[in-house]
């Protein structure tokens, strides 16, 4: 029973929107951990690579009643039927039943970008060119994650490099499975406001399980049936309502960045 419980994990994240200050530390930490290259000279906010991207949401009122919150959005790690998995002609993305992680495999990707169209969260990014780092900066790359070449799509994998490291650490001590203290994604670790919690939904006592059941917790685009494993929480009703809306017209007015 113990082994069975450990053999199926569902890693998930809960982001407290009320605590997020929009500083962007999580975005930097993610790029450092996953060897994301700096922007190409012509890159803009439609063509850059930001596995985790912080958006600003405004309540649509005018000054001074305007209010805003920040929403960090990464791959939402959809459960059961991720749209990207079902459209990929190459099986370059899979939902791992053991961990619940939707893993993007650059080796198989041929760059058709169908998955980018399919993803309702715009959480997938394409390498429009070969990655370029300033001379010498390859010495500062993380050996736990392989750099990608041009022509492939990439996205958040819940820091698979850190999952690997946690598994290795456990194996060195003779244990199978990971200690959750050793497996913390870069964004969660770096947030100065501790707005990001990470854990295993299959453990009903974990902080993410408890938070996921809370009334203030919601998910993005819930009616699409993606059952994402990235949850958000806010005590502000306008945030909960706006974040779950689907109409693009509404979002363009009030979602910036």
């Amino acid at each position: 029973m113990e082994n069975e419980k450990k053999s199926r994990q569902r890693f998930a994240m809960v982001i407290d929107v009320d605590r997020c200050t929009g500083c962007g530390a999580c975005m930097m930490a993610c790029a450092v951990e996953n060897n994301v290259p700096p922007a190409r000279p012509e890159a803009g906010d439609r063509t850059g690579i930001t596995w985790l991207r912080v958006y600003r949401m405004d309540n649509g009122n005018t000054f001074p009643e305007s209010e805003s919150v920040f929403l960090p959005v990464s791959c939402q790690q959809c459960d059961e039927h991720p749209p990207c998995v079902s459209v990929c002609p190459q099986n370059a993305v899979e939902l791992d039943p053991k961990t619940g992680i939707v893993g993007q495999i650059a080796e198989r990707c041929l760059g058709c970008r169908y998955c980018m169209t399919a993803c309702p969260y715009h959480a997938r990014y394409f390498n429009w060119g070969d990655p370029e780092w300033p001379k010498g900066m390859e010495q500062a790359l993380n050996p736990g994650v392989a750099p990608r070449m041009r022509g492939v799509v990439e996205k958040c994998n819940f820091c698979h490099g850190r999952l690997h490291a946690a598994e290795e650490r456990a194996a060195a001590a003779g244990k199978a499975g990971v200690e959750m203290e050793a497996y913390v994604p870069a964004c969660a670790e770096s947030c100065p406001a501790n707005a990001i919690s990470f854990g295993d939904l299959s453990d009903p006592d974990s902080s993410v399980s408890v938070l996921a059941r809370d009334a203030d917790t919601f998910r993005l685009l819930p009616r699409l049936g993606t059952s994402p494993k990235v949850y958000y929480r806010s005590k502000k009703r306008w945030v909960r309502e706006l974040a779950q809306k689907e109409a693009v017209k509404e979002e363009r007015k009030t979602v910036n960045g």
Partner: protein, 741 residues
């Protein structure tokens, strides 16, 4: 065979070969190998492999001094994170600090001294030898000593309080006219000094015990202090420990701090003094102030003459202040009541790091509030910080005093040495430029990267990058106790760079200025060891060890060498607290002669009367930026994630403007515009932001964003060039107008 071998046989042969080839591994293996080959291009970098080590150091990219845990592979850092429980850092790093280990590879990195060549419209660094650079600097310095034309040698030190600062001051003390310039940082310590009648000590803010914090524009959650510590204090810790303070943020814009604060008070730009006086008015009127203490100690509280503090603030009734600031009378009274009720309450001023100082009068007005609230000299408020041993404020003889840039006579500096280890803020270059002897000055910047102010210099001397240098991190300006930690070199510095201390030692030697007592080593590490020894000898305080998150009392640390070892492994010394000395007598208006008049004038608002007034210049321009990221120099190449790849933060010369205001001037979101002030004009890219007050435009001072124009100086000019410079004191608000580009 012979004539029987026809083309047909050849074709059969070829056919047989083709069929045979399919039965060999050739096509299949070749396909497999080519597939591998195409997935392993040689120009895709392979990350270095090696043993993974954890090392601890301190971030030196801004004065906050957050503790850093560095994950190193093969002897080089590959990622950085915060240190839980660190006294300065609070367990996290900001986006700038998270990329610190990339700075040695910055594309504009300088590896040998260079002279900046501006002919032809570009700035080009032209290599020179270190000896030639030193000789030029020595010549310029010598002229100030012996030349008829005089002039002075100045050092602009963005990070005062270091041992390096002492070395600068000793060098300058040995010159005929040496000026040590350090920008005012943090919570307006200079302003308090102008008010106290006797010395008391540098004030620090005991934020861990504060109940209410009223901030006049200081970006509390976005660069004012260590991000982890500030978030814990303002948002409360996730584990519920510690206390959460109530933050009231006063600023025209709904900034990140304002959005997260308990209360945001939008006020008209430049009217902070009026609001401070208005609050003071209510505190006095409603008898919510520390009357006994104020009447006892303030010499100008109520003198019966027209020039007392009371007579000043009596003019700032809630209705008057409401008219000036745009804040309702109710809100003003409500804040006053809250400050008095939820104590200890502290008031700080700041403003955007790109905008420079709040203004002396504003700072005195804010200190006035603190004194009325009784929060100066008490826990949870401002306490005098006991200086660390070896601090230049109290060390040795002969070091030059600290001067203020705005008090230096124009056209008088012949040699200016810029230490670009920044304060996190930005200075308009013209304020520096006007102090230089025209045509005959030499500006030498000590910088690892040719960016930011270093681009403006005549000579750039390469210094080690932050992860390559042994450096010292004293306490940040607002800290209530002295602290000291060391930054360790996590990787070797390249061959051509020179540590700033070593450069000054050589320059002083060339000019025969003694820096050290006889027998004292001039080696940089030894200078730091002497300071650490002084700290150990004091017996004070305790040392935090990042390895286990625990503190060790100084009594338990056997020797200066042990202390050095602890600090070398990422430790942080934190002084013990003492009972604050009683507050001396003070002047609420300040001791300067024209105090009353200047305070009253500030109370009317900073937006100076300009020809044409609000008709000709209907908008207010405010520079805006993130501490430590105000130009390309301290920003990792990966920071593009926050800038052009997401629009989360603003690039150089992007401007945030209220949508209604923008439309009134015919501006489109992401379109071009030209902003004009009486001092000049600047082309910007417009961004709509409903959190911006109508009539205000915030122009970003930040990284440039690359592209074709990255090398042309004129394309990298920032908005500070068109901000006012009349008194050289306040440039955070300016009258402006805008039109579509």
């Amino acid at each position: 065979m012979g004539k029987n071998f026809t083309r047909r046989h050849l074709l059969k042969f070829v056919g047989g070969s083709a069929a045979g080839l399919l039965l060999t591994p050739v096509p299949w293996k070749t396909l497999d190998d080519v597939a591998i080959w195409t997935q392993n291009w040689s120009w895709i970098p392979v990350p270095p492999k090696g043993e993974i080590q954890t090392r601890f150091t301190t971030c030196t990219l801004c004065p906050a001094g957050c503790g850093v845990r560095a994950r190193c592979v093969g002897g080089r850092p590959v990622s950085l994170s915060g240190v839980a429980g660190h006294p300065a850092g609070g367990g996290s790093l900001c986006p700038v600090g998270l990329g610190g280990h990339h700075l040695p590879y910055h594309p504009l990195r300088l590896l040998e001294p260079a002279r900046m060549d501006r002919s032809g419209g570009d700035d080009r660094p032209v290599p020179v030898t270190l000896d030639a650079a030193l000789a030029a600097m020595a010549r310029a310095a010598e002229e100030t000593r012996s030349g008829a034309s005089g002039g002075s040698v100045a050092v602009l030190d963005g990070r005062p309080g270091r041992t390096l600062s002492t070395i600068y001051r000793k060098f300058l003390g040995g010159m005929k006219s040496g000026l040590y310039l350090a920008p005012e940082m943090g919570i307006g310590a200079n302003a308090l000094q102008d008010m106290l009648l006797e010395p008391w000590g540098r004030p620090g803010l005991d934020l861990e015990n504060t109940a209410t914090l009223l901030s006049f524009g200081a970006p509390i959650l976005d660069g004012w202090g260590a991000p982890g510590r500030m978030a814990d204090l303002v948002l409360g810790r996730r584990d519920g420990k510690g206390r959460r303070l109530k933050l009231i943020q006063v600023e025209p814009r709904r900034s990140r701090t304002a959005a997260a604060a308990d209360q945001w008070v939008p006020l008209n730009p430049g009217t902070e003094a009026a609001l401070a006086f208005g609050l003071a008015h209510q505190l006095v009127q409603l008898r919510l102030f520390d009357e006994k203490s104020v009447r006892k100690r303030a010499v100008d509280f109520e003198t019966g003459e027209g020039s007392s503090y009371l007579s000043l603030i009596s003019r700032f009734t809630p209705d008057t202040v409401s008219g000036i600031t745009g804040v309702s009378a109710e809100t003003i009274t409500g804040i006053a009541r809250e400050l008095a009720r939820n104590s200890p309450a502290a008031v700080v001023g700041g403003g955007d790091p790109a905008g420079g100082p709040l203004g002396e009068e504003e700072e005195r007005a804010i200190w006035g509030l603190n004194l009325l609230l009784g929060s100066v000299g008490k826990a949870g408020g401002f306490v005098p910080r006991r200086e660390a041993p070896g601090d230049p404020a109290i060390s040795g003889d002969g070091p030059a005093a600290v001067s203020r840039l705005e008090e230096v006579p124009d056209r008088s500096i012949r040699l200016l040495i810029l230490d670009t280890a920044g304060s996190g803020g930005a200075l308009p270059w013209k304020l520096i430029d006007r102090k230089l002897v025209p045509q005959n000055s030499l500006v030498a910047a000590l910088a690892p990267v040719v960016a930011g102010d270093a681009r403006r210099a005549d000579l750039v001397i390469p210094v080690p990058s932050c992860t390559e240098a042994l450096d010292e991190v004293p306490a940040p300006a607002a800290s209530p106790v002295s602290t000291l930690s060391l930054a360790q070199p996590l990787q070797p510095a390249p061959a051509g760079v020179i540590a700033p201390a070593a450069l000054i030692v050589r320059l002083a030697a060339a000019l025969s200025v003694p820096l050290f007592s006889s027998g004292e080593s001039a080696v940089w590490a030894d200078c730091l060891k002497r300071r650490v020894e002084a700290i150990h000898n004091s017996g004070r305080g305790s040392v935090f060890s990042p390895q286990d998150g625990k503190f060790a009392e100084m009594a338990a640390i056997e020797s200066p060498e042990s202390l050095w070892k602890l600090l070398s492994e990422g430790g942080c010394w934190i002084d013990s607290r003492e009972v604050p000395a009683p507050l001396p007598h003070y002047s609420l208006l300040g001791r300067k002669n024209d105090a009353y008049a200047s305070m009253a004038s500030a109370g009317a608002g900073r937006l100076a009367a300009v020809p044409g007034g609000a008709q000709a210049w209907p908008l207010v321009l405010m520079p805006s930026g993130l501490c430590g990221a105000l130009d390309d120099s301290q920003v990792s190449p990966l920071m593009t994630k926050l800038y052009q790849e997401s629009g989360l933060r603003r690039l150089l010369n992007q401007a945030d403007i209220n949508p209604a205001t923008a439309r009134a001037y015919g501006l489109a979101d992401r379109g071009g515009a030209v902003i004009e002030t009486p001092s000049g004009s600047l082309r910007v890219e417009v961004r709509f932001d409903p959190g911006v007050m109508p009539g205000v435009i915030h122009v970003a001072v930040g990284p440039g964003g690359g592209g074709k124009s990255r090398n042309r100086l004129r394309d990298r000019l920032n908005v500070l060039t068109i901000c006012p410079d009349d008194s050289g004191r306040v440039w955070r608000v300016a009258r402006a107008r805008v039109r579509e580009a």
